[in-house]
């Protein structure tokens, strides 16, 4: 069973939430007054509180009663965190044009071709250090140890054509019937090979707000049916920006002397996502837009939101390393 520990709070919001969660469900949790954050994406307190509020849907939390998951006070509290987060994401995303809405599959190709992010995977391939690769893996563990799960929330909400496409992708993400091939399991093996702790949630305390925001984005899209377009667009853009960077990360590890047990996750994604990206863009996103034209704009919103948040996150990593600093909240404790 997945079980995480509550990390230390990072401010008044996470403090209030974690204190309440340690008590009986639905008592002692008052929703905050309108959350005023200058930069919600990088707000450590807001993103950690939101992350834990979502995490209770994916995992057990040590010392927290499971009935908290649907406690009205927790849902109300979460809504106050989602409001500024959603607004901050919306500010980064340009609206879709009529031409884009007319062909969502083609629009996605153009959107990912203009990826606003810095060349993180190229940097890692050619000059990243083993320590930086460890940091990269630790950041990514927040998602990769539950890879595919945030998008699976969309399954019951889709009509048959996009649903079949989503299942075609997800079945492969989950190992096609073989737990050992499940992508989250492959990632845990990579962590083990690198001497990192593969336990779910082990590094939560070290993850900065910008990393948590990349996961909160997909949890929020996935858990709200009204954002079914956005979670589909998020998956499509994720798959479409995966094959080539993953080849580079695999090459980075090979350059650093790591063996196949460390690179398998990345090498697997080169071939897998070259399949998935086509299904996700044309059959899933295109299929959903054909069935429900009213969510077409949100499909493209989800794609653009992913690219914007990934760009901000990647910039944080590269800027931290440029300054000679760790990109984590504390430098990772990794083997020599």
């Amino acid at each position: 069973m997945r079980l995480i520990e509550l990390p230390p709070p990072r401010g008044p919001l996470s403090e209030r939430l974690f204190e309440a969660l340690e008590g009986p469900p639905d008592t002692g949790l008052e929703a905050p007054a309108a959350v005023d954050s200058a930069d919600p994406l990088a707000d450590e307190d807001l993103q950690l509180a939101l992350y834990v509020a979502y995490e209770i849907h994916y995992a057990g939390i040590s010392g927290v009663e499971e009935r908290w998951e649907w406690a009205p006070s927790l849902i109300g509290f979460r809504a106050e965190l989602e409001r500024p987060f959603e607004a901050a994401v919306a500010e980064l995303v340009q609206p879709a044009t009529a031409a884009e809405l007319a062909s969502v599959g083609a629009a996605l190709q153009e959107i990912v071709a203009e990826d606003p992010g810095p060349p993180l995977s190229r940097y890692m391939e050619t000059q990243g250090t083993l320590e930086q690769m460890h940091e990269h893996v630790i950041h990514r563990s927040a998602y990769q140890l539950k890879e595919a799960d945030p998008h699976s929330w969309a399954i019951p909400r889709l009509s048959p054509v996009p649903k079949a496409a989503l299942l075609e992708v997800q079945a492969d993400e989950y190992g096609g019937g073989d737990a050992e091939r499940m992508h989250s399991v492959l990632f845990a093996k990579t962590m083990t090979a690198l001497g990192l702790d593969p336990a779910y949630g082990a590094y939560l305390e070290q993850l900065p707000a910008l990393t948590l925001a990349t996961v909160n984005l997909m949890s929020g899209f996935g858990l709200h049916r009204r954002r079914r377009g956005a979670i589909v667009g998020h998956l499509a853009a994720f798959e479409m920006t995966s094959s080539i960077p993953n080849r580079r990360y695999g090459n980075a590890l090979r350059r650093l002397g790591c063996g196949p047990e460390a690179t398998h996750f990345y090498d697997e994604h080169v071939e897998a996502d070259a399949v998935h990206e086509n299904i996700a863009a044309w059959d899933l996103a295109g299929g959903l837009a054909a069935d429900e034209p009213e969510v077409a704009a949100d499909i493209l919103f989800g794609a653009r939101a992913l690219l914007q948040l990934e760009a901000r996150w990647a910039t944080h990593l590269m800027d931290s390393w440029d300054r000679g600093e760790s990109s984590l909240r504390q430098p990772a404790a990794v083997p020599a």
Partner: protein, 80 residues
């Protein structure tokens, strides 16, 4: 256990995706010229259509780097 590949009534389908690879679905086998089976781990595979993949005959997404363009349907002929 139910074998998801047991339904033989569905023919193998090869679909060119716009500006992308051929996706192959169904009860297929990929072999080299001598008939040796090339291992494929997934139910749906993507075969390279741009010629530049580094894992040919499979697709690795390189078509996006080289601006490969091709329609999903049959290309009109003769070209003008």
């Amino acid at each position: 256990m139910v074998d998801p590949n047991a339904d033989q009534s569905r023919p193998v389908t090869i679909t060119p995706y716009p500006d992308g690879p051929y996706l192959v679905r169904g009860d297929f086998v990929v072999t080299d010229q001598e008939g040796n089976e090339l291992p494929t781990a997934r139910r749906t595979i993507a075969l390279c259509r741009c010629g530049k993949s580094r894992i040919r005959p499979f697709c690795d997404g390189t078509h996006k780097l080289i601006g490969f363009k091709a329609p999903s349907g049959t290309e009109p002929w003769p070209c003008d």
